[in-house]
Amino acid sequence: MSKPKVGFYWCAACGGCEEAVVDLHEEILNVVAAVDILFWPVALDFKREDVEKLHERELAVSFINGAIRSSEQFEMVELLRKKSGLLIAFGSCSHLGGIPGLANLFNRESILANSYKEAFSVENPQGFYPQESIQVPEGKVTLPALWNTVKTLDQVIDVDYYLPGCPPPVELIKEALGAILAGKLPEKGAVLAPDKALCEVCPRKESKPEKPQLREFKRPHEIVIDTEKCLLAQGLLCLGSATRSGCGSACVNGNMPCTGCMGPTSRVLDYGAKALSAIASLVGSNDEKEIAAILSKIADPTGTFYRYSLPASLLHRAYKPEQGGK
């Protein structure tokens, strides 16, 4: 019996997820031993037509990282969906939209204008813009179209499982691969990570106050962070209470507050709204003005609470009229 065939693909993402695969180190040899990597553009020279030639569902499993932002990405994941038995959203970007998803606070026009015209570092006196198709002597040349908004993977195709994290922790990847190979997968649509919040496993949980009251919010560079004490209790906006565990507490161990890359637990629809609710509820004041003053220290609530999940949020994107909303 031949080995199951596996594909990896990279959409709107930073490349960190590909690194995560490499982070398997020698384990990757076990992976290679167990499966045939058929398609992995970042490492192997495969072309789209190679995928097109595959039979339907010939790939046992495809791992797709990155959010969906362009027509090309959409076409590729649509194609991979057809050719794959299992399709796994790999990492925060494909899971929830990720950091690239913050682009949903703007629209295509303003992003293009910024990148090609307005940004401080741009030198473009003729005002060249990327073109989606152009007539050259040799013929018509086309480029993928940039969409107006960033989408999560499951907003464009059917997704079987999710591997959360920015990037997904090696442990989770190993477990997921193991489960796939063993055919011991949970119900479709599951996130392949523990379903409890990070506080459960936080090394600092002993020091979390039983009745936390937040009187002041601070940013990490503003204070000397105690390496033992609950970060929230120190005034840092640690989102561990709202974030799925399974990351190995990497940030907290690194003396940095959790920023929420693993996304919400299964009972929460909108990560940002829920995290915001938890944090705001703990503000230690009942005075309207004082509440506003305390909360004003949270510099960018949208960017903070939706750092990894804006496209997956209920609102999905900003709707400012000047950005083509409403």
Partner: protein, 166 residues
């Protein structure tokens, strides 16, 4: 969705989801009824025991499901049936408001009002006022999230992008 509600012409009837606390605002709305105070029929009331139960997700969900506005009604500060629930709502609302503004949801679309059990007239006023304001603002068309329903839109946007040539 009915076209009576969502038409872009002058007859636009905004749809409001109103979350009222059982003890003050819901009772006030009952009182407005008993007193036969007619007001704009645009809000659909969802009763919660305390405004403190309001998860910001509910507000976003209402907008996502097609509401043009969300009204939150709770007891006056200091009058909460559960002592302090309304203060907690206030805390969340203060922060949520900033987030909503970032997301382009206008200030007047999501409104919080303290309405005591005796203030039936205030229910009437707030309902009328908010309906008027939303009529001025127009419908809040949130873009559908899933690709199935937006496939066409994506194509349009591509076509549109092709039109944007410099």
């Amino acid at each position: 969705m009915s076209d009576i509600n969502k038409s872009d012409n002058g007859n636009f009837e905004p749809r409001i989801v109103a979350f009222f606390c059982n003890w003050c605002t819901y009772t006030a709305a009952d009182l407005a009824g008993t007193a036969r105070m007619t007001y704009a029929p645009n809000a659909r009331v969802v009763r919660v025991m305390c405004s403190g139960r309001l998860d910001p997700q509910f507000i976003l969900m209402a907008l996502r499901e097609g509401a043009d506005g969300v009204l939150i009604g709770g007891c006056h500060p200091g009058d909460c049936h559960y002592q302090e629930g309304n203060y907690k709502t206030l805390r969340r609302f203060t922060l949520l408001k900033r987030l909503l503004l970032d997301m382009g949801i206008e200030d007047k679309r999501v409104r919080m009002e303290w309405i005591a059990a005796s203030e039936g007239d205030r229910v009437q006023r707030v309902m009328n006022e908010m309906t008027e304001q939303l009529k001025k603002l127009g419908p809040l068309h949130l873009e559908p999230v899933s690709i199935d329903t937006i496939h066409k839109k994506v194509e349009e946007s591509v076509a549109q992008a092709e039109g944007v040539k410099i």
